[in-house]
Amino acid sequence: MIEKTVAELSVALASGDISSVELTQVYLDRIARFNADLNAFITVCDESAMDQARAADAARANGETGALLGIPMAHKDIFCTQGISTTCGSRILQNFVSPYDATVVEHFKTAGAVTLGKTNMDEFAMGSSNETSFFGPVKNPWDSNRVPGGSSGGSAAAVAAGLCAMATGTDTGGSIRQPAAFCGITGFKPSYGRVSRWGMIAFASSLDQAGPLCQSAEDAALMMNVMAGLDSKDSTSIDKDVEDYTTTLNDSLDGLKIGIPRQHFAQGLSAEVEQTIRDALKEYEKLGATIKEIDLPNNHLSVSAYYVVAPAEASANLSRYDGVRYGYRCENPLDLEDMYKRTRSEGFGDEVKRRIMVGTYALSAGFYDAYYRKAQKIRRLIKNDFNEAFDEVDIIVGPTSPHTAFELGAKSDPVAMYLEDIYTIAVNLAGLPAISIPGGMVDGLPIGMHMVGNDFAEARVLNIAHQFQRQTDWHRNKPAAFTQED
């Protein structure tokens, strides 16, 4: 069963080949068996998952239908789940039980999906390897010495290892797409504003966006049908009709214009990754697409601008963790000042503290124009680059990451880690939809192909990704250690 995509499981559930209770039990058993090593889950909800599975089966017996009814899934631990621990990968929220559900969580509940648990992540989504989690690193299912990517590493590893059928993630600078690439699955970041941020713990408010991590573009379309939409509780959620993303999956790609940014095939890209992507592009030519080189001249500035905007917003977003109303408070504070400083220093990890300080510095008196305002201007240049590119092409394709998953501990230098996101970060600054799908393998490790669409072109991006997956089987590859069923 676990090799089936959500679309296939949905058929199996509908036909009665399997019940949600049986399916949920399969995943819970696998979590029990594999999670101790993989560390993909922070919290497992055995009981409530079985309750939800029984409810889904009962609903189906009552004649209810729905593509996600009874499908076992996982939520990144950045989403607030009422009555369930919500840690954001941090000590400071180690004992936080959310008093409400995120809108995304609510939507999946309404669709009848089963929540197996909450997945591990870089602390407050700050990281590209899942090594900054207070709950320890997640391992890559393809090679346990390697990272799964981050920050949605737990979700990516859980899907890749077959510990859930699908999972939610969030992407602020590549946090869905890079772990999807490293773990050989499909990860989709929608346009900014397409999915509600209510209940999704903020890292950088103008960049954060929730999206699916799953086994195929078709699954991503099914998840997006549930996730997307206007939310009156989120001022930045967009009032724009939601399409049925599955209906356009099989649109023809004849005449599709694909842009290949020179800047994404330059210095720093591993030769094997480059070759894999260029081979994959040939599949599109077979489908009638034309390929042309384009320029994103300011792409090289995206990491710099991002490391001003994201830390600046984060420095304010994380001020609420002060030990007053919820979360961790240090032992025996001497006075208020001591409580603040010790609570926050003991509660946050090094990377989070570093980014808070960088953001605080960038906003402080005398530096605002040189840093924050400058970064906003670079952001405009980056957005303009994309606008010009989309005048010429329909989609921009390249590698998700310069190389395959690296080894745990290999990137101890923060700047080296930041440069991991060189191909994905500009997309967040511009607010565009983008997907990473498996494009090939090198040395037993998956390679992600990155595809960026124009504003709110979700349906087109999913269509283009799906057509590739109809021609190839890379997305069907599973890590050997997790494929035996017993």
Binding site: C80, F96, W198, A316, D322, R325, L363, S364, A365
Partner: protein
């Protein structure tokens, strides 16, 4: 040396919305602690703000009322600082693009002259919660009911030159806000709060000198006292060869002094930046036109109309329009009485005296406007005299029946029947031969003695004008 005082005021007004600026929590004053603080107000992770339409409307209403520029594209910013009554660790406020830009207010000074005082800007922001310093085993306790209540911060230009002017400006602001019905603006409850920036400079100097900011002033009277204290303090410091330090000072009403707030923070660095959870507010002409069309008549316009329409003096008109309720009360009295000038005298005289004595608001007056109108109408139609009216006014405090019923039941009706008056006049002439003789010899002023005697005889019910005329006729 002769000193000039320079004052700028920052006034915070709680907008009287039902719910908070960015959440659906109630804003009721005086609720049990933390019963009006929901997950957004408590800054629970993942919560987000959505702007209250009425808070925006009220802010724009104020801007339009003072003829200010309205920010067509207005932006919220985060102001970052840590304090336990500030749950998010930042206050959502407006820095570069406030909702209301430059405008001005005209105030009437003590000498009756008028002065325009500039308003630099007004912006929307969230109120903080309250830190209560009652002792909980050495801990400070926090009530977040107030956190997120919408505030309009109104910043004046440093145009104010004395404590009296500051009070006049504040009262005018208060009056406009009450007219607009956008805030209770009760200083004692904190729904209107005032910080004063005060500095002094040698008269003739045009540069601004170092100022101090006085906080914690919670009544009009204390505004005057706090500023006067601070001005004197600054003069003393400078005349003793010292220098004024830029600092925040708290006003202590009990001791009537300001004192420096000791603070470890060398300088605040609020790290303002645009609030990314909110988008720019864009306001079009139609929105402003609609607000303008629904604006009530404001104090200045009302005053001008009272002067023109009712032929009132500047001073009386000014008093009557100082509050919307008083002006409305007056207009009912004026129309009921048929004599606006007399109505104005009664409202500013007897009625205000009564209200002050019993510490009542005009809306709670035991003598309703329509009754007072009738009372004055009875003076006008000569049913009663002005003197009798004052007696009836007193009676009306306890007796809620109609004015005419009171007049009737107490037999206070003025005698205007000329036959009855003639009888009285004859009696007075007969019993005061000496005075009659004096009058006939040319001592004209004796007539008032005779009128007085007639009034006495009639138990003050005779119409004095009539008595006068009749007496003079009979003594020809």
């Amino acid at each position: 040396m002769e000193w000039e005082t320079v004052i700028g005021l920052e006034v915070h007004v709680q907008l009287s919305t039902k719910s908070k600026l960015f959440s659906g929590s109630a804003t009721q004053f005086g609720a049990d602690p933390n019963t009006q603080a929901n997950i957004y107000d408590l800054a629970m992770p993942g919560t987000l703000p959505v702007l209250n339409a009425d808070a925006l409307r009220m802010a724009v209403r104020f801007g339009v009322a003072i003829g200010a520029e309205i920010g067509r594209r207005s932006v919220f910013d985060r102001k970052n600082y840590f304090y336990p009554d500030l749950p998010k660790g930042y206050q959502v406020s407006q820095l570069d693009y406030p909702i209301v830009g430059k405008g001005s207010l005209t105030v009437t000074l003590d000498d009756g002259s008028e002065k325009a005082i500039g308003v630099t800007r007004a912006h929307m922001e969230e109120d903080a919660g309250k830190s209560l310093h009652e002792d909980y085993q050495g801990m400070t306790s926090i009530d977040l009911n107030r956190a997120g209540t919408p505030l309009l911060e109104i910043v004046s230009e440093p145009d104010i030159r004395s404590a009296r002017e500051a009070v006049a400006y504040l009262k005018k602001l208060h009056s406009i806000i009450r007219y607009l019905d956008i805030s209770d603006a009760i200083m004692a409850q904190g729904s209107m709060r005032c910080d004063a920036n005060v500095s002094i400079r040698p008269r003739g100097e045009t540069e601004l000198s170092t100022r101090t900011e006085i906080k914690n002033i919670n009544s009009f009277r204390f505004v005057e006292k706090a500023i006067n204290y601070e001005v004197q303090r600054q003069q003393d410091v400078i005349e003793d060869g010292g220098r004024i330090v830029q600092e925040t000072r708290l006003y202590d009403a009990d001791k009537d002094e300001t004192r420096s707030m000791r603070s470890k923070e060398v300088a605040n660095d609020y790290r303002y930046f645009p609030e990314p959870d909110l988008l720019p507010i864009v306001i079009d002409e139609a929105y402003i036109a609609d607000i303008r069309a629904r604006l009530p008549e404001l104090p200045d316009a009302k005053k001008a109309r009272f002067c023109a329409e009712y032929k009132l003096g500047e001073y009386d008109a000014g008093v009557l329009v100082s509050s919307r309720e008083l002006a409305e009360y007056f207009e009912i009295v004026a129309s009921g009485s048929g004599d606006p000038k007399l109505a104005a005298n009664w409202v500013t005289g007897e009625l205000q005296g009564l209200l002050n004595k019993h510490n009542l608001e005009v809306s709670d007056s035991p003598i309703q406007a329509d009754r007072l109108g009738t009372l004055i109408a009875r003076i006008k139609d000569e049913t009663i005299s002005g003197k009798i009216a004052k007696t009836i006014f007193e009676t009306m405090l306890e007796d809620s029946s109609g004015v005419d019923a009171i007049i009737e039941s107490k037999g206070l009706k003025q005698v205007t029947d000329s036959f009855a008056i003639e009888k009285i006049v004859d009696e007075v002439i007969a019993s005061n031969p000496n005075q009659v003789q004096q009058y006939k010899e040319g001592k004209q002023q004796v007539i008032s003695f005779l009128v007085g005697q007639a009034m006495k005889l009639s138990q003050r019910k005779a119409n004095p004008g009539q008595v006068n005329v009749l007496l003079k006729e009979k003594l020809k």
